[in-house]
Amino acid sequence: MPLTPKAAIKEVQDISSLAARTFISAFKRPLYLKDILIQMDLIGVGSLAVIVLTGFFTGAVLTLQTSKTLSTFGAIGFTGQLVAVSLVRELGPVLASLMVAGRVGSGIASELGSMLVTEQINAMRALGTDPIKKLVVPRVLATTTMLPILTVVADAVGVMGGLFIAVFVLHISSNLYLNSAWDALDYMDVVGGLLKPLVFGATVSLVGCYCGLRTHGGTQGVGRSTTQAVVASSILILVFNLILTRIILAYSQ
């Protein structure tokens, strides 16, 4: 079905309404603490392997690419600085969030979509449970809290990946690389690097829940919702990254 302007506005209205209901429900009893912890484990610990691999190879490739350019200016000693700043400010939050969007956003959409088409969500409502409180709030809280932690892991492993290449391939001293990396980072880099995944985490989980909860058309519909969740949250991550970068840079000057 083509996305008309009216339909697009309706989508924005619906997802905003879901976000508002989720926010209000997060402060109402009952708080499903067990479900929140389960989701934190599934989303946070479950994504660790993907995040570690992504971070390591991104840092390694970044080091290889930047060192080549920097060496032409005789500035190979700044490799650590460039890798650390790029990772903490941009690549860490964005790549970690995109990986989580692919892994977690799709999982949330398919799980809730399957529950919807098999009437488990109606059964839940019939048994007196609010699906927003029981299903959406734990997933949004878990993703929003775990993504900044995963980003820190991705940043750290990325710097280590860069260190590996710097020492064993480029033969740069590890002290030079690490000191240059450490000195380059300032307070706003860290704040910005943690603020971004906080926003991206809320975006990925809300989009995943929204796509899952409006699934229609049986199992085919579940597949469609999953794809839409990944595509929409990936695009939103890139759009919000631009907006947040602009705001953070304005405040850091």
């Binding site: 098999t118 009437e119 488990q120 109606n122 059964a123 409502r125 019939a126 048994l127 007196g128």
Partner: protein, 266 residues
């Protein structure tokens, strides 16, 4: 019909897009009675159940559950109404990440009841549907018939006043369907549970309308009504294109001269 009216639908209209699913549906359900809603696929049978449960809202009309109008209630206010009603969904709708015990006890966990009080209740309810041995199984390990019986146990554990059955025998073999029907008959005749039974399987509908259960000590026995004996407290509603075209007992339904009803029953 005498007795206390526990559920009433008044001129209910429901439309999905351009599709008019219910067009002025009105009926009353009395305490202890089972209403069997039959009709072709897409005639609005399941929609009636969803409206009674407050899972969907009518476009027009009123729905009264024990005298309370529920059609315009907020979701949070519907919780109290839903606690009076149990529902068995068409495909069981068991929570597939929870065990049979957790599925059946779900409502009790939500109500904050102590674990030591939950266990005997779960075992008693599973015992009623004959599945106490499956208490630790996951839904994926159960057959279709077992899933329906677990769904029945889950709906019954809160001791609802009204039970809604959405095609509980659809897709099951005759022996398993018979088991489900016997449980529903026992609930109606021995426990006095009021119910709405939606089906398009006439055989199941007439089983419910013509058989009754008695409890002779420890065992429940099932009997068929004689030609002059009408014991089963059951009435039929026949839906066609969102309208009720027949309401009454099975004897009148069978004797109807309406060409559509004759064709439907053939």
């Amino acid at each position: 019909m005498n007795g206390e009216c526990v559920l009433e639908m008044k001129n209910v209209v429901k439309q999905y897009g351009d599709n008019l699913v219910l067009d002025g549906v009105s009926f009353k359900l009395f305490r202890g009675e089972t209403k069997i809603i039959i009709g072709a696929s897409g005639s609005g049978k399941s929609t009636i159940l969803k409206l009674i449960m407050g899972l969907d809202r009518p476009d027009e009309g009123e729905i009264l559950v024990e005298g309370q109008e529920i059609a315009r209630l907020r979701e949070s206010d519907l919780v109290a109404v839903r606690s009076k009603i149990g529902m068995v969904f068409q495909e069981s709708a068991l929570f597939d990440s929870l065990t049979v015990r957790e599925n059946v006890a779900y409502q009790l966990y939500e109500d904050g009841i102590d674990d030591d009080k939950i266990e005997p209740k779960v075992r008693e309810t599973l015992g009623f549907v004959g599945l106490e041995d499956a208490i630790d199984k996951m839904p994926s390990e159960l057959s279709g018939g077992m899933k329906r019986r677990v769904a029945l146990a889950r709906a019954l554990i809160g001791r609802p006043d009204i039970m809604l059955y959405d095609e509980p025998t659809a897709g099951l073999d005759p022996i398993t369907s018979r088991k489900i029907n016997e449980l529903i008959i026992a609930l109606r005749d021995i426990q006095g549970v009021t119910g709405v039974f939606v089906t398009h399987r006439l055989r199941d509908a007439f089983t419910l309308a013509t058989e009754y259960a008695t409890n002779g000590g420890s065992a429940t026995t099932f009997h068929r009504e004689g030609p002059l004996l009408c014991i089963a407290n059951t009435r039929f509603l026949l839906l066609r294109d969102g309208k009720i075209i027949f309401e009454g007992p099975d004897e009148l339904l069978r004797r109807s001269d309406d060409p559509y009803i004759k064709r439907f029953l053939a």
